[in-house]
């Protein structure tokens, strides 16, 4: 499965400035997304997942913070440095994003049909009637019953699951090459969640789009990911293929997460959240110089407090921990989880 690269993020840094503090939400993040593949970005709440997604689209509001460094390379261009006009031809068209909270992201005073149609009219230059016809087709496609009538509904008239489907319809209406989905299933109950995942998978197979999927639910990751990025306190702490991460995790944080998780095929469908690792995430405005996972790490050694670990890559599997070799060796052969 040799693919070509669609998006490459290099040394991305995004800081928020609030109340005189600098919140280092994204710190030196690099990764790439291959065409048609699924990359999962996992991490607990506040680890900087949404900030990463918004930085890629250059959508960090100036009043809150900014991308202070890095590149987002897409088709030979750096999305952070192209003109606004050029950027608008890519956003919503070639790269679309599903927001974490559909209830807040959909405009309350615009009909669902209008919110789909406006993307089509903007990017595909189709007439109002054609846009409406395609909007209906999209609602049908994402499994919203009675689509014709739903076109004229307002967001508050839809259920949570329906709103999520409507957002997917909006995102996919221009057949993007990359879909960034920020926790699209978190707010939904298990049945709807698996329906939405199935739908995304189906649509991905149809259109060959790549998917950057943000979640803090590991069972979802195991189900859909090709490649996994584990984020902690604004940094990538482990990256690898889904097998590498689930079969042979190196970083103590990832190991903790997987240990706390029920067996993959236990079939009970319960999904543990990433808070399963004891302790609290560090304050991103006040990070210590050493490893930011140290206060919660049971393998922490003296040098962890003052030496920041680098990202070390072995056979396409990266880890940010100075002692990972000893830790993995001491634990012996990993139990087969898959």
């Amino acid at each position: 499965m040799k693919q070509s690269e669609l998006l490459r993020v290099e040394n991305l840094r995004t800081y928020f400035y609030s109340q005189g503090r600098t919140v280092r939400a994204v710190e030196d993040v690099s990764f790439s997304v291959q065409q048609g593949s699924t990359v999962c970005l996992v991490g607990e709440s506040g680890s900087g997942k949404s900030a990463t997604a918004f930085s890629i689209l250059n959508l960090i509001p100036k009043s809150m913070g900014r991308v202070v460094a890095g590149k987002v390379l897409y088709g030979g261009e750096d999305l952070l440095r192209i003109s606004q006009r050029r950027q608008r031809t890519i956003l919503g068209n070639e790269i679309a994003m599903i927001f974490q909270e559909p209830a807040a992201a959909l405009n309350p005073v615009c009909t669902v049909g209008e919110q789909i149609a406006e993307v089509l009219r903007t990017h595909k230059q189709c007439s109002a009637r054609e846009a409406r016809r395609q909007a209906k087709a999209m609602l049908d496609r994402v499994g919203i019953p009675d689509a014709q009538r739903r076109l004229d509904d307002y967001p508050h008239q839809l259920s949570g699951g329906m709103r999520q489907r409507a957002m997917i319809a909006i995102a996919l209406s221009c057949r993007p090459k990359l879909l960034i989905a920020d926790e699209p299933t978190t707010a939904l109950d298990a049945t709807v969640q698996s329906q939405i995942l199935g739908l995304l998978h189906e649509l991905q197979a149809d259109t060959g789009m790549a998917l950057l999927f943000i979640t803090h639910d590991l069972s979802v990751v195991a189900e859909i990911a090709d490649r996994v990025l584990v984020m902690y306190a604004g940094r990538i702490v482990e990256e690898g293929d889904v097998m590498q991460i689930f079969d042979d995790p190196w970083m103590p944080y990832t190991r903790g997460l997987l240990k706390a998780r029920p067996g993959l095929h236990s079939g009970d469908g319960s999904s543990r959240r990433l808070s399963a690792v004891p302790g609290d995430p560090p304050d991103l405005a006040n990070l210590s110089i050493g490893c930011s996972f140290r206060p919660r790490c049971c393998h922490a050694a003296a040098d962890c407090a003052y030496r920041p670990p680098d990202l070390e890559t072995v056979r396409g599997h990266s880890v940010r921990c100075m002692h990972w070799r000893q830790i993995v060796e001491a634990a012996g052969e990993p139990e087969a989880v898959l």
Partner: protein, 268 residues
């Protein structure tokens, strides 16, 4: 009744106007007349108050409508621009200006413009009606009084809306800045502005009354002020009745508009 009126005439008039009856009877008589559509006559000109009032209404509309349009235009554009350029020099100047404007009473603004443009510069007439030049000062005075409020409101509401998720979402769809700001932003921000503007319609009426007096503008507001001065009660009562009805009507209109603009209200 003027104090210098002869006693005999006074007694006659009291009897004629029914002022010897007790208050309740007088009030009932007044209410009953209202229901018949009889609003009484002016004590002085002896003409029906409706007629007196209605001949002045066009002049008032000639003043208030352009002033309202101007005020909304300035308020909307100013408030919008300030919100979009939050914390810029323009934003800070506008915020300061709106606070100052809201603190200065309308008649002071009117007198100040007369002092500057009529007396010192001799550019514009200080009062009365006639040429287009007569419109400029009163319209601007009245517009200034309400536009500061509108600008302030639009700015506050728009700032709130700009921070909403749906604005960022609209941008993530690659829509043009105009569509993002006007269609997704202003349509949401205008809702609270509308409500409060409806409540402030009374302010516009009050402003019109004051402005007409300052600029000797022959409108309904000035008529009512004259009625106060002369104690022309029938006329005064009718004026207040009409103003109150206008304010209630404006609020009704706002409620209807709100229902049309906000689908979450329309539902219920």
């Amino acid at each position: 009744m003027p104090p210098e009126m002869p006693e005999a005439q006074r007694i006659e008039l009291r009897a004629k106007l029914g002022l010897n009856d007790d208050i309740a009877t007088q009030y009932l008589r007044y209410g009953e007349a209202l229901l018949r559509g009889d609003f009484g006559q002016s004590f002085f000109s002896k003409r029906p108050v409706v007629e007196l009032f209605m001949e002045r209404v066009p002049n008032t509309l000639l003043l208030t409508v352009p002033a309202f349009v101007l005020s909304v235009a300035i308020g909307l554009c100013g408030g919008l621009w300030a919100a979009l350029r939050h914390n810029s020099l323009f934003d800070r100047s506008l915020t300061t200006a709106t606070v100052v404007m809201q603190a200065i009473p309308n008649f002071v603004v009117g007198i100040a413009t007369i002092l500057i443009f009529s007396l010192s510069l001799r550019l514009l007439p200080s009062g009365g009606m006639g040429t287009w030049k007569h419109f400029i000062l009163p319209v601007i005075t009245l517009a200034l009084a309400t536009c500061a409020n509108t600008a302030h409101l639009v700015r506050t509401c728009m700032l709130e809306v700009l921070a909403q998720d749906y604005m960022r979402y609209a941008r993530s769809k690659g829509l043009s800045p105009a569509v993002v700001v006007l269609k997704h932003g202003l349509r949401n921000a205008i809702l609270p502005v509308l409500t409060i503007m409806g409540l402030q319609f009374g302010g516009l009426v009050a402003g019109a009354v004051v402005t007409e007096s300052v600029f000797a503008w022959p409108g309904a507001g000035r008529l009512v002020i004259d009625a106060v001065m002369k104690r022309d009660f029938a006329l005064l009562q009718f004026g207040i009745l009409v103003f109150s009805a206008a304010i209630i009507f404006a609020n009704l209109l706002v409620d209807v508009a709100y229902g049309l603009l906000d689908p979450r209200i329309r539902e219920r």
